[in-house]
Amino acid sequence: MLDYINSYLSDTVHVTPGEAGNFFWALVYIIAIFAGLSVAVIAMNWLERKILAHMQIRLGPMRVGPHGLLQPVADAIKLLLKEDILPSEADPLVFWLAPLIVVWTAFTVFIVVPFGPTHAVTDMNIGVLFMLGVSSLSVLGVVTAGWASNSHYPLIGALRSSAQMVSYEIAMGLAVVSAVLMSSLNAEGTGTLSRIGLVQAQEAQQTWFIFKFFPLGLIAFFVFAVAMVAETNRAPFDLPEAESELTAGFHTEYSGFRWSLFFLAEYSAMIAVSSIAVTLWLGGWLRPFPHALTGETWDLVFSLFPGITFMFLAAITFYSVARMPKHPYFRVQTIGLAGFGAVLALIGLALFAPPVRDRIQDVYWFVVKVAGFMYLYIWYRGTFPRYRFDQLMKVGWKVLLPIGLGVLILTAVSGIVF
């Protein structure tokens, strides 16, 4: 254990706890990811409602806590306390199992997500494959959920979901392969499926793969970005749970805690696929311009970003505090908001400390990139109408699949030529 801490603190060794065979630290990482993910889902919930609300000229949650900050907590409590309804005609075992499968797959993929060169549970040499494989298992949970409910809407939702996920996985896989091909453009000529290896390949080639063989990398990224929205059943591809058609799709019959598991799984799946996109095309944990803007000064500037971000958030919070209505009724909320701001500011201050800011930088850039994708997800939802099922299939098979294939071939050719 001490060995690992020493190796972690020394800049020379770059291994993940899983690689080092250190089960204790691996466990710590797993718990940290689990907790972090839950917090991220809760934050996502609040952010989605707020951002969507502001896109739609309304305020969103405003009542529970200042600016509705405690709304996700209230929702979570509500969901936990709600009656857990088991439809009388449902298959109890499968009905019970389905949300577990979905949640299990959604969380398992995170053991290969590299938040930094050393910040991952493990560095699997087939990381990308593992992630695609495990995340496509989640369709099993969706199908069993629809099947076990023994009801028509969930059944249709489950069938839609299985067809959709299977078709888009192909386009997604082709896009991934073209990125893996790009990673093989090194002296040895061998690519890697390790996600840490993929980011290191981008570092070695001094470019994000999205800009590689312009515009091939961009197109492959585009194919992946569309397919990943479809993979996670989000708007405009949210047919399996199309609210206005199938009420709630495959989870129509679920309530309370089980439903919240689906919710949790959906959001963590969104984060998971975004993390693939980030590692494959957007340079993973690499900070912007790691080769162009080098030197002590730039390192310092970029390492200050995490702290600055938190200070900025704290500043917004304090500005909101100043704008709170000056009325005794709002006193508790104002104090709460000020406290929240103080916590943010303290975190920001802590992130300015030199050892912390050097260690935390990679995680910070990774999270920022993923957060960008999360914002896109919300933006899509606010903008697009929903595709119809046949159109969805058409887009998957007739548009994305040929493009993905073409990009793959062109990438291979380019790799040989250049």
Binding site: M55, I57, H152, D238, E245, P385, F389, D390
Partner: protein, 384 residues
């Protein structure tokens, strides 16, 4: 005239067992509790996978017996009830009823009242179309336009509220004219609203008209020909989108519509996209009418000389107006007493809903939702 048998619902219930394991066909109930049926409409769908083989509408969940109530109320007392039928276009309902009774009594509303009626009715048409647009887009999955249209509809409701105190079920008109004189600043409010809303309609169109997904979802969906429309008695924007240039405001002008210059927008394909375009154009035409009307509201009384107790002569009348949903008719029979002997309402939503089966057969489940939205039904009017 098309062969009638093709309009029959091919839904043969009972043949397929409800357990769906041993059959390729699936019977599902859409509604009466469903997010996209705009109230308590129940549609039984027979599906082959996602394809709709047949539908049957089950209605009546909101039946309140309005026509029976009418027979036990005086003409004046029944007036507020009509607002509760198509509650998103209450002013149009009221206009139709008041004009029908006026016709039965052989009374004409004074010009000033007619102008006020036209302005309020056209505002109401705008409000109704806005609500339609928001909910229709929501059904197709675009959630944002709903809030935009509600924001702008609010301005119309504010004008109603200032005029008569009510926002939704306004009871704005009385038999013989209007009860209320326009409030101070009515013209300014309406003009300001016109200036406010014209760019907003462009905004809706920006969000949807060229949106690729929107076009794919609505083009060639819910197609109905002009002949089928006539055969099924479908009126309003649905008929016009099929290419029939027929609008009661032009064909048989009522109120003061003769005096205004406006066009009847028509479509060519009769699909959901054309109906969308027609309604968007209608909103612009409504703005034109209001713009003309508000500038020249004549002076004069707002109430014709109508006795306090309304007792039309023995006889009967059918009067219909162009409500936002189609032809809204009132067939009133008087036996010479203070209460109507019979009031029959010819509800546009009820008749238009009949075309649902024809429009969705052979299409997908998602299209059913789109078509229900595009028919613009209000269950209060369907069930009465």
């Amino acid at each position: 005239m098309p062969d009638a048998t093709k309009f029959l619902s091919h839904l043969e219930l009972g043949e397929t067992d409800q357990t769906f394991l041993d059959s390729n066909e699936l019977i599902i109930n859409m509604g009466p509790q469903h997010p996209a049926t705009h109230g308590v409409l129940r549609v039984i769908l027979k599906l082959d996978g996602e394809k709709v083989l047949g539908t049957e509408c089950v209605i009546g969940y909101l039946h309140r017996g309005v026509e029976k109530i009418a027979e036990h109320r005086t003409y004046t007392m029944f007036n507020p009830y009509v607002d509760r039928m198509d509650y998103v276009a209450a002013v149009s309902n009221g206009l139709g009823y008041c004009e029908a009774v006026e016709k039965l009594m052989n009374v004409e509303a004074p010009p000033r009242a007619n102008y006020i009626r036209v302005i309020l009715t056209e505002l109401n048409r705008l409000a109704s179309h806005m609500l339609w647009l928001g909910t229709h887009a929501l059904d197709i999955g675009a959630i944002t336009p709903l809030f935009y249209t509600f924001r702008d509809r609010e301005e119309i409701l504010k004008i109603f509220e200032k005029y008569c105190g009510a926002r939704l079920t306004t009871h704005a008109f009385r038999i013989g004219g209007c009860l209320y004189e326009t409030y101070d600043g009515f013209e300014q409010d309406v003009t300001r609203f016109l200036k406010f809303v014209a760019p907003k309609i462009d905004e809706y169109e920006e969000l949807l008209t060229t949106n690729r997904i929107w076009v794919e979802r609505t083009k060639k969906v819910g197609y109905i020909t002009a002949d089928d429309c006539k055969a099924l008695g479908v009126t309003g924007p649905v008929l016009r989108a099929s290419g029939v240039q027929w609008d009661l405001r032009k064909a048989q002008p009522y109120a003061a519509y003769k005096e205004f210059d406006f066009d009847i927008p028509t479509g060519t394909n009769g699909d959901t996209y054309d109906r969308y375009l027609v309604r968007m154009q209608e909103m612009r035409q409504s703005l034109r009418i209001i713009d003309q009307a508000v500038g020249k509201i004549p002076e004069g009384p707002i109430m014709a000389k109508v006795p306090k107790v309304i007792k039309p002569a023995v006889g009967e009348i059918y009067h219909s107006i162009e409500a936002p949903k189609g032809e809204l008719g009132y067939f009133i029979v008087s036996d010479g007493s203070t209460q109507p002997y019979r009031v029959r309402v010819r509800p546009p939503s009820f008749v238009n809903l009949q075309a649902l089966d024809q429009m969705v057969r052979g299409q997908l489940v998602a299209d059913v939702v789109a078509v229900i939205g595009t028919l613009d039904i209000v269950l209060g009017e369907v069930d009465r």
